[in-house]
Symmetry: C2
Amino acid sequence: MIVLPKYPGVSPLVVRRLPRYYRLLTELMKNGVERISSREFADMIGFTASQIRQDLNCFGGFGQQGYGYNVASLRAEIGRILSVDGNLPTILVGVGNLGLALANHVNFEYCGFQLLALFDESSSTVGKDINHWTVRHVSELTEFCTEHRPLAAVLCVPPSAVPDLVKKLMDLDVKCYWNFTQYDLSSLYRNEILVEDVQLADSLMTLSFQINEIL
Amino acid sequence: MIVLPKYPGVSPLVVRRLPRYYRLLTELMKNGVERISSREFADMIGFTASQIRQDLNCFGGFGQQGYGYNVASLRAEIGRILSVDGNLPTILVGVGNLGLALANHVNFEYCGFQLLALFDESSSTVGKDINHWTVRHVSELTEFCTEHRPLAAVLCVPPSAVPDLVKKLMDLDVKCYWNFTQYDLSSLYRNEILVEDVQLADSLMTLSFQINEIL
């Protein structure tokens, strides 16, 4: 995949911190806070003020020395950087408990995505109404993708189903994946696709390490 | 919380990479691979061999120059560092779709935890059998925790329910949380509790950023 980044040289770690800033700023706005010093904001987050300033400076910096941040405009700037106003056409494949939980509870539009359709292969699930989507059979994938051109797919299928499914989706020009399967997708098709992994077991093992550090 | 780490000075980023190593080594073992060079292992993961050697050196290093890694023993060592053989008593609160998905699909024992019980407050859920747990009413929390002394809780409740629930759990000596709520728990009780956040919206926004970088 040819990459011409809009923000060259920005560390992935900085990017990964932005959604948390965005979330906390959203919270502050809801509570009617109009302005916050970088020190107060840092205290909320548990970083140093200098760390936050450094992060934001990667994108131009938005505070005014001595005046702190305007909450609404900083939130808007970070939202713009994260492209949360995008409308990336997306499908979800695998409507088990996890797929169901994601379709019901994740606010895709808030994050810059438009969830177009859900797919499953189980006859007990296909045809069901979930939120405002009717679950389609995976055999309809080709026709659907050809017509609606999704860019991204949320994968909630068993790991064994991943290789064939992703090969098919790649052929249909779906190149971006939110991967909830335990399949190590980023190793398989490196440079050809873009993968954001949510490896729940990895997260739980990290917690195990941390707990055992202090036990 | 008084912290006397077993591995002082090891970066959280290194720790966060270990579960992936463990997962890939498990995969290799399943496929009958006995030995792997750091170069081959690095290629699988998409890091440099030197990065992997550096990570492992934080814990003593386990390869032998020119011989690569013994898959089974490296896996065992990493498992030991992550304490996956632990049996940390754990409860899950909030048995909606997401709680259900976690109870059904996450292999807690594989990650070092023993899931003792599930709790919910909805009359339509309490009493149901999920996997091999019967969902209990949250009003039983105090009695259950006093008797079984869980150390960790998986939180899958609505954000508004978090402050009261966590206050209660902290009083019952539950100090470690796998947090799936959108509530910013680590900001609230910093230094008093240990939190591993799974913020799905943050992950999805990170994907939005990455996609828009290349669009």
